[in-house]
């Protein structure tokens, strides 16, 4: 059995850990709040964009040809993996990485057929270790990213598709369901395919014409979606970290209770032993 002093030290160190995890949980809760507000602000932008894009698509059914809307034979696929800067968020990162690895191993025979765009240090390190082809990377994204932070990576991905360097673009990320539930999702972003109609289709004039409008609209739409996915992933990250830290705080409390019980028992045993030694000593004297 551990000595009294060992137990005391263990209790103190667990208490310190609990303080840290508790603080991290509260920090993540605050960040989650802000992430949700930001996602709301973004929502009005993406809804508008989708409305206009689907309007144009439905109003000109069949007559519109745009490379971003058409699927072509897939020779090379790109994956954007949204991971966090660090761990301590439960299965947040490993879920995304597992999904990417699964998709890659199921769909591709050689590393020439795909490439990865890594967002977040955790993803980047893992892909490097596995020696997977990385087209681009972005680390050090802030907790409250702005559009400027991802603009270059979004432009790059959309540009690669336009230049036909890749024929499909997938996003792999954690979707934020609620503060306690996140799920891994993969989404085929490009080619855009069917854009579902939102609300009634209004008839517009296009200046100068529908095709030129689409020319500026579709890249904007795709880049916007990448940013929206990042916001979603960030909200999920904060939620995952909050839950992970919550459960480690709970575990620490449980450990402290257990050690305190052991400590009290050990102390009681020591006292009992001392008394019986004194009693034994006194009896021997008589």
């Amino acid at each position: 059995m551990a000595s009294l002093r060992d137990l005391k030290a263990r209790i103190n160190s667990t208490k310190n850990t609990r303080k840290i995890t508790n603080a991290m949980q509260m920090v993540s809760a605050a960040k989650l709040n802000r992430a949700q507000l930001q996602a709301q602000a973004y929502q009005s932008y993406t809804n508008k964009l989708r409305e206009v894009v689907s309007n144009i698509a439905t109003a000109n059914k069949g007559s519109i040809r745009h490379p971003m809307l058409q699927s072509r034979p897939v020779k090379k696929t790109a994956y954007i993996a949204f991971t966090a800067e660090r761990g301590l968020a439960g299965a947040y990162n490993s879920n995304v990485l597992k999904r990417v690895n699964k998709m890659v191993s199921e769909r591709h025979n050689s590393s020439d057929e795909y490439t990865i765009i890594a967002l977040g240090r955790m993803g980047l390190n893992s892909f490097r270790n596995r020696e997977m082809p990385i087209a681009s990377e972005k680390i050090g994204l802030p907790d409250q990213p702005t559009f400027d932070d991802v603009k270059d990576i979004a432009k790059l991905a959309v540009g690669m598709f336009e230049r036909q360097e890749i024929d499909e673009l997938h996003l792999v990320y954690n979707h934020f369901n609620s503060a306690i539930s996140q799920e891994v999702r993969d989404m085929k972003l490009l080619p855009l395919g069917e854009v579902e109609a939102a609300g009634e289709a209004a008839t517009y004039e296009y200046e100068p014409d529908a095709e030129e409008v689409l020319e500026t609209l579709l890249p904007l739409y795709a880049e916007g979606l990448i940013f929206g996915t990042l916001l979603d992933a960030k909200a999920a990250e904060h939620a995952a970290r909050m839950t992970a830290m919550q459960s480690s705080t709970d575990n620490a409390s449980e450990l402290i209770d257990k050690y305190t019980l052991q400590y009290n028992r050990a102390r009681q045993a020591a006292i009992t032993q001392e008394i019986s030694e004194i009693v034994g000593g006194a009896a021997a004297l008589q």
Binding site: S44, K151, Y204, E205, P208, E223
Partner: protein, 134 residues
């Protein structure tokens, strides 16, 4: 008097929202003035200034591309990657961005994609400075 309900929306949130009497924008096909009851139209914008005219006050917003959407019932939405109201523009930062872009332009090859990107960056910075000085 008739008014237009105007909003300028970016991925980072709504930059402008309000009722105005006239909006003038620079579309890729030329300048456009939008008055109440304009027909529904969609047009891409240049990196330019948007002028929102309401009684006695002219407001200016710098937009970096995007497009304008006019809907039935005098609803105008401008969607763009980045927009700044005249009073929010940080002149010093814009000046810095301009110098940085000019520096990059001097170093890069004219045919690369980066060169075009830098050129756009320069346009954006100049546009911000222009709007700030209006």
């Amino acid at each position: 008097m008739n008014t237009i309900s105007a909003s300028i929306v970016t991925p980072n949130g709504t930059v402008y929202e309000g009722n105005v009497h006239m909006i003038s924008v620079r579309a890729t096909g030329g300048d456009m003035g939008i008055l109440p009851n304009h027909i529904p139209i969609v047009a891409p914008l240049k990196i330019s200034a948007v002028k929102l005219k309401s009684e006695g006050i002219d407001e200016y917003v710098a937009v970096s591309g995007g497009f304008v959407e006019v809907r039935r019932g005098s609803v105008v939405t401008i969607l763009t990657e980045a927009a700044e109201r005249k009073e929010d523009i940080d002149v010093e930062r814009a000046q810095l961005a301009k110098e940085k872009a000019q520096q990059r332009l001097a170093e890069l090859n004219e045919k690369t994609a980066e060169y075009q990107e830098a050129q756009k960056e320069l346009q954006r910075a100049e546009n911000r400075l222009h709007v700030a000085s209006l």
